[in-house]
Each structure stands twice: as structure tokens, then as C-alpha cells.
């Protein structure tokens, strides 16, 4: 009964979103306030019904209701309860339901927090979101229904949730990622509403900006968490593989980053308007494209979900409708919103334009690399693959230029800057970064010129941001008073830039200074890696809720002082017969000690010698710490009073109008 209830809730949600996509927008053109006002309750109603459907599926998982096909495929009765709850999004159908829930959640959030928007704009934004919702409702109901039954012969037991997904990182990764992906639909809806209204001004940008930044911050966290998960769960210490699915989340992030910066120009200077609109369309389109690539089977990837041409055709059709109509609208209406203005070559606008061009170039490069096999195949040029060498060849130099430009740009003014001022502003951070880059590698066992270059780039971004904060406080009475004078969004921006610097430093140091050794070790053996002594205490048996494991015992010490005790595992899951490597990691701010168990060298004698991999990963945590700082920076920027002030001002003018009437 409960699955049918869920199915029914989905259908009601579809009907409500149909109403949402028609009524308010029609009202905005025929000046019917009542129709426009329907947008908010309708959006909340859609959310309520998706939520009911979601709860129903969760209940089916908790009850291990294997008459539901999706539950039987992604859960079994011995799965721990918390993984039963997260297994809801462990497969294709359920993750689309999660997507739908978050999509409806964003629409409901706009309905709740958008009360201060002009009624026409709010009605149009919510209607556009309603149209997007229809697409996902139809997708789930027609091609990916999680409530399908296996009657009349349900299996006695379900197959297991993929052991790779039985991990805390996987609990948070998909929701965060989807929050980001789907969040860009709000910026998209704002862009379409602006095109429809033929009106885009600083006030519009001020509304669209916080929504974009929040989505971007979630996406940043989601990507970082995914990379962190790959690092510790795949068991070999890597953190980025240029897999098509990773690229699918990186591309909207790159365009989203460009969009945030372009929105800043639109808000402050009223420029880049049609460009901003185009980026908003692109960011959401790339989110949809990612879904298409992952779920249609046009590209092979390990992450790829159940691939199905029907689903692929549907998403492609959806993509064609959404993007095709948006771009057509853009072509017809962009002149109405665009503006012409002049700015000097030395201005902040120029640097932000450079930032946008570089980010789009990087995105185009990633898109090319991801699609190249498909393009070549479709054009009958043969089947070709593009591996990490291609991506690194382009990504690294473009990122270097982007970071150099960033450090220069943060010191530039709007409209125009004087060369002598710019040069003197750049001098000190340049020298500081140079010193850092030359000195830091001395702390490691070998000097590496690649590291010097990489450290310079990271330190340059960091020092330039700090220098800007210092110079902004120079004229104040005291340092603290000067600090207080700046806006929250100013600090958010610098924190995000510093986060980027931290991540760059982490990437460089990890790449250059990590040490890995693969050894044969038996009980009592000891080995030294990067100054740490690893004592192998042998292998014992360990028992998990749904797996059995060999567990290595390794004592790590440095100069005789104990550092950590690590227990890497080789797990054997009961249900699928899958073997999984569970690395043991001692995480520190400056290094990770990473131990993974290979295979017993004599398979018949697991208590004998084992292949063991010992790794010292320099500064690897900085990669994810940097991403965390970026996301927090985004959060701080959104907290800026300016966004609430805009509402206050709007309310004041509204009440003023009412009084006048």
C-alpha cells in the first residue's frame, strides 16, 4: 500500500507542477494578481507531495519490502539501518527521486524567501521552475519509477547495495551534489524570467546572486566530498581521475564560478548582462547534460548508473526543449536586456572578463575531452579515447593563468586603475609569494622546481588576497575598525580565493612530495617511509555487519614516539562476493599516513606475508580544506546585509506605494 501511496503522490505532484507552470506565468501577462499569487502555494504543494513520495520509498527500504523492484535491487535485510535509509539514493530511480525532492525544495525555498520579489518576477521564476519540475516528474513516472512492484513473485532477499556506496561519504555526497546541480535551476529560472520581462538591472542581479552562490557552495562541497571519498575508499590514494562522471559535475561548477563573477559585474556595473544570462542558461544546461551523460549510456564510466536508451532519449528530449527554447529566447530577447558601456583595459571588469573567458575555456576543454570519443564515433572518424594526459596538458596551464590573473585582479578597481598603483599593489605579494615558493621546498627531502612554480601560484593568490585586506584597512583609525568597515561579501570573496590557494598548494605538495612504497610484510616486520616507522603486527580476522575482513595491524611511530595505530582491511561482502579494500588513514594537517592492505602473497596462507602499501601523503587534506573554505566563503558572502537591505528597501517602497494609493 505504501509504495502505491508514493506513486500516487508523484502523480499529484505532477498535476500541481502543471498548474504551477501555467497559471502564474499566464497571470503575469494578463495582470491577474490572484493567478500570480497561486505560484507560492502551488510550489509548496509540489514539495509536500514529493516529500510524501520520498518518505514512502524510505519506509519501503526500512521495511525491506522486496516486492518493490528498486528496493530488492539496492538493499537486503542485513544491511545496517542507516545504509537502508541512504540506499534510497543508491541507484538510478531513487537518486532521481532525490533530485526531484531537492528540485521541489529549491522551488519551495524561492516561494518562501522570494516574497519581496516583484510579483511578476516571482510568478515567472516559479513557473519556469514548475516547467523544469514537470520534466523530472515525467522522467521518473515514465522511465524510472522507483515504486514498480516485482509481484507476483517477489524475491526472498534483496541483492546488496554496492559496497562502494556503503560508506559515510556516500551519505552526504549525492545530496550535496544535487543541491548544487539543481540549485543552478534557480539562476536559470531568474535568467528566463529576465528574458521574458525584457528587463535586467542591478536589482535583478542582486536577487539572482545569493541563490547562485548558495548552489555553487553546495556543488563545491559535493565535488570535494566525492573526491575525498575516492581518496579513502578506492584504496589507492588518488583523488581525481577525469572520469566522465567527475567531469559532469566539474563542468557546471566551472560555469557556475564564471556566473558568480559575471553576476558581480552585472550587479556593480550593469555590464555583461546578456553574457550573465547565457552563463545562467549554460550552468543549468550542463547540470542536465551531466545527467544525460551519466544515465544514458552514451559514454562508459564506472560511476554510470543503469544505462537505458529510453532514459537517454527522454533526457535528451528534455535537454533539447529546455536548452533549445532558452537559447532561442536568448537570441530573440537578449538585445532588450543588454547594455553598452566602456571600461578601461586596466579595470576590474577586464580581469573578471579574463576570468570568465578562462573558466569557459577550461570547461570547453573538459567538455571536449569528455565528448571526444562520442564525437569521433558519431562522425565515423573512428573510436578514440582521451585519458588524463589530455586533461592535464590543458587544465594545468589554464589554471596557472587563471590564478595569476586572480591575484592581479583582486587589486584592480572598477572602471579604471592606474598602472603605477596596480604595479605597486602587485609588487609586495609577488615578492612574498616568490620567497614562499623558493623556501618551502627546503622543508622536504628534495628540491623540486615544479613545486616552486606551483607553490608560487598558490602563494600568489593567498598573498594578493591578504594584501588587499591589509590595504583596505590602511586608512581606518585602527586595523580592527578597518576590518569592521568591510562587507560580509568582501570577506566571503577573499576567503573563497584563499580556499582556492589552499587547494592549489595541497595539489602541488601532494603531487610532488608524497611517498609510496609497496612492500612484502609479515608479522614483526618493520619499515621506514618518509621518516615514519611502520611496524606490521600481522593480520587478524574481523567481522562486520555484512562482511568478513582480514585486518592488518600497523603501528606507526616517528623517532620512537608512537604516532598512530592503523587497521587497514580487506573486506569480503557476503551478498555480492565483492572484495573491497578499506584503507586506514591517520590524517593530519600537514600529512596523511595512508596504509592499504594488498593480497596475501601466498593465497592459501592469509596469516603469512602480505602485500602492503605504505603511503605518506604530503598536505593532501589541504585540497579538501581549500574546497571547504571556498564553500564557507560562499556562505559568508550570501549573509551580506546588502541582500536583506534590498528586501527592506523593496518593502519600504511597497508600503509607500500602498500608502499613496
Amino acid at each position: 500500500m505504501i509504495p502505491e501511496l508514493g506513486h500516487f503522490a508523484l502523480i499529484v505532484g505532477l498535476l500541481l507542477s502543471l498548474a504551477l507552470s501555467i497559471l502564474p506565468i499566464a497571470g503575469s501577462y494578463s495582470a491577474r494578481p490572484l493567478w500570480m499569487e497561486a505560484a507560492r502555494p502551488l510550489a509548496l504543494g509540489v514539495f509536500a507531495f514529493v516529500f510524501i513520495a520520498y518518505v514512502c520509498l524510505t519506509v519501503a527500504f526500512i521495511q525491506s519490502d522486496f516486492t518493490v523492484n528498486y528496493v530488492a535491487q539496492n538493499s537486503n535485510s542485513i544491511l545496517p539501518i542507516y545504509y537502508k535509509i541512504t540506499a534510497v539514493w543508491g541507484g538510478h530511480e531513487g537518486s532521481i527521486l532525490l533530485w526531484l525532492l531537492i528540485q521541489a525544495g529549491w522551488a519551495a525555498a524561492v516561494a518562501l524567501f522570494g516574497r519581496q520579489l516583484p510579483p511578476e518576477l516571482l510568478a515567472r521564476v516559479l513557473s519556469v521552475l514548475g516547467m523544469v519540475l514537470i520534466g523530472f516528474f515525467l522522467f521518473i513516472i515514465l522511465t524510472s519509477n522507483p515504486f514498480d512492484r516485482t509481484l507476483p513473485f517477489p524475491p526472498m532477499e534483496g541483492s546488496d547495495l554496492n559496497p562502494l556506496l556503503q560508506d559515510p561519504g556516500m551519505i552526504f555526497h549525492p545530496p550535496l551534489l544535487y543541491m548544487g546541480y539543481v540549485g543552478f535551476s534557480v539562476a536559470f529560472a531568474f535568467a528566463i524570467a529576465a528574458l521574458l520581462g525584457g528587463h535586467l538591472d542591478a536589482v535583478w542581479a542582486r536577487w539572482a546572486r545569493p541563490w547562485t552562490v548558495v548552489a555553487w557552495a553546495f556543488l563545491t562541497l559535493g565535488i570535494a566530498l566525492g573526491s575525498w571519498w575516492a581518496y579513502y575508499e578506492l584504496g589507492w590514494g588518488g583523488w581525481w581521475f577525469w572520469d566522465p562522471v567527475e567531469n559532469a559535475s566539474l563542468m557546471p561548477w566551472l560555469v557556475g564560478t564564471a556566473l558568480m563573477h559575471s553576476l558581480a559585474v552585472t550587479e556593480k556595473r550593469g555590464l555583461f548582462k546578456s553574457w550573465t544570462i547565457l552563463l545562467a542558461i549554460f550552468a543549468f544546461s550542463l547540470s542536465l547534460l551531466g545527467t544525460f551523460l551519466v544515465r544514458s549510456g552514451v559514454i562508459t564510466s564506472v560511476h554510470a548508473f543503469a544505462t537505458d536508451p529510453l532514459r537517454g532519449s527522454f533526457i535528451l528530449g528534455f535537454l533539447a526543449v529546455v536548452v533549445g527554447i532558452s537559447l532561442l529566447l536568448f537570441a530573440l530577447r537578449a538585445p532588450a536586456v543588454s547594455a553598452r558601456s566602456v571600461f578601461s583595459f586596466r579595470s576590474l571588469e577586464t580581469f573578471l572578463l579574463g576570468n570568465n573567458i578562462l573558466l569557459i575555456l577550461i570547461m570547453a576543454m573538459v567538455l571536449t575531452g569528455t565528448l571526444y570519443p562520442l564525437v569521433a564515433d558519431a562522425l565515423n572518424l573512428g573510436k578514440i579515447s582521451v585519458g588524463p594526459p589530455f586533461f592535464n596538458l590543458f587544465f594545468v596551464p589554464l589554471m596557472v593563468v587563471l590564478c595569476l590573473l586572480l591575484g592581479m585582479g583582486v587589486r584592480a578597481n572598477w572602471k579604471d586603475s592606474r598602472w603605477d598603483k596596480l604595479l605597486s599593489a602587485w609588487r609586495l605579494p609577488f615578492l612574498a609569494a616568490l620567497v614562499v615558493a623558493l623556501v618551502w621546498p627546503l622543508a622536504f627531502d628534495h628540491y623540486h622546481w615544479g613545486a616552486v612554480l606551483g607553490l608560487f601560484i598558490g602563494a600568489w593568490v593567498f598573498c594578493a588576497s591578504l594584501a588587499d585586506i591589509v590595504s583596505k584597512t590602511r586608512n581606518a583609525k585602527s586595523f580592527v575598525a578597518g576590518l569592521k568597515r568591510q562587507r560580509a561579501s568582501y570577506y566571503g570573496m577573499h576567503l573563497a580565493h584563499i580556499g582556492l590557494a589552499v587547494a592549489v598548494l595541497g595539489v602541488v605538495l601532494t603531487t610532488v612530495y608524497s611517498v609510496e612504497e609497496d612492500l612484502r610484510m609479515g608479522a614483526g616486520d618493520s619499515h621506514k617511509v618518509a621518516g615514519y616507522d611502520f611496524d606490521f603486527g600481522g593480520v587478524r580476522l574481523a567481522q562486520g555487519p555484512n562482511y568478513r575482513a582480514f585486518e592488518g595491524v600497523i603501528h606507526v611511530s616517528k623517532n620512537g614516539k608512537p604516532v598512530a595505530e592503523l587497521y587497514p582491511q580487506k573486506r569480503n561482502y557476503f551478498s555480492g562476493g565483492n572484495t573491497m579494500t578499506e584503507a586506514a588513514i591517520d590524517t593530519g594537517l600537514f600529512r596523511d599516513i595512508y596504509v592499504a592492505l594488498g593480497e596475501p602473497l601466498d593465497r592459501s596462507n592469509p596469516s603469512g606475508d602480505w602485500a602492503v602499501r605504505l603511503q605518506y601523503k604530503a598536505f593532501v587534506v589541504w585540497i579538501w580544506l581549500g574546497a571547504l573554505l571556498m564553500a564557507i566563503g560562499g556562505g559568508i558572502a550570501v549573509a551580506d546585509k546588502r541582500y536583506r537591505k534590498a528586501r527592506a528597501a523593496r518593502e519600504a517602497s511597497l508600503s509607500g506605494n500602498l500608502a499613496a494609493a
Partner: protein, 194 residues
Amino acid sequence: MSRLKLFLPLIIFVALALLFWRGLFLNPQEMPSALLNKPVPEFSLEKVADNKQVMQKGDLPKGPHLLNVWATWCVACRVEHPYLNALAEQGVPIIGVNLKDDDSAAIKWLDKFHNPYLFSVADRDGRLALDLGVFGAPETFLVDAEGTIRCKHVGIVDDKVWQTKLQPLYEKLKSQRWDAFAGDLSDSLISRCQ
């Protein structure tokens, strides 16, 4: 003119959409192999883990065997690997072609995940892979005793692929020549090997 420029994103998107539409009906697992029923190309490549030893076509096993293209940068290979281990344990000879890889990474991989290969050759610039018509990793070729490629599989070899595609041919090739039974094979099996 400037108005026309605004249509550019739309035009690019339509081109991409047509491409994806075509992509939907292409099977990335499938690839026309000009090499099918042709001999394995000549090669002379260093062995992974021992770069003094150069392997050549004559060093391939004298019976039917698998030629598996793999790399440490290939995430799908990581998924495929345990199954290759299982096949090797059943006595299926597998030769590795380590594609555009870093030697030390490849050695670590083999130590860590167990080595199912009789040996792997280091195809550092991808020449052998190019000659084989490989477009990515993993890819697996079934080669008969005469050194002729009889079946190819693009993507991960798992239980299903092995049992329905490669194993039936492999078992027959162990005792007979290809020509002796090729005429009796079902068209669907032969077409799937292409």
C-alpha cells in the same frame, strides 16, 4: 549581423544535440574491428616490471588466450580487475597490454590488486593499441592458437560477458581450429564479437 551572433549558442547547441541523438544509437561497447579474424599485429615492447626484457608476438601463448588492454588511469579497469584474477585462477591465460601508463604505477597496481597476467607489455606511446584498433581501456581480445583475433570486447569483462560471449569460443578453440566450427556459430554471437 550582431543579431545573428546571438543565435550562435542555439546553433552550437542544436549541433551538439544532433550528435547526442546519434550517440544514443551508437553502442560505446561496440566497435567495428578491422582486425577481427586478422593476426595480432607484430610488436616489440618492454615488459612491465622488467624493462630489459623485450616481448614480441612470438612470445604470446601457444594456445587460445586473452589480450587485455589496461591502465592504472582507467577506473573501469579497477572494476574489471578482480574478475580477471578469477579467470586467471581458472587457468585462462591472459596477456596484458599496459596502455600509456607509468611503469611504477602499473607495478604497484599489479602488486596491490594481484597480477592476473602471464605478462604485461608496456605500450607507452600506444602504438600496439593503435594497431589493434583500441579506443580505450579496458578492451579484451580473444586470440586463437594461430595468433588470430577471433573476438573482441570493449569495456569491462565480467561474469556475463565471459559466459555468454568469450567462454563459448574460448572452450571450442582449446580443442579445435576456428575454421572447424566457425560455420556453426550463431550470427548473433559472431556479430557481438565485432
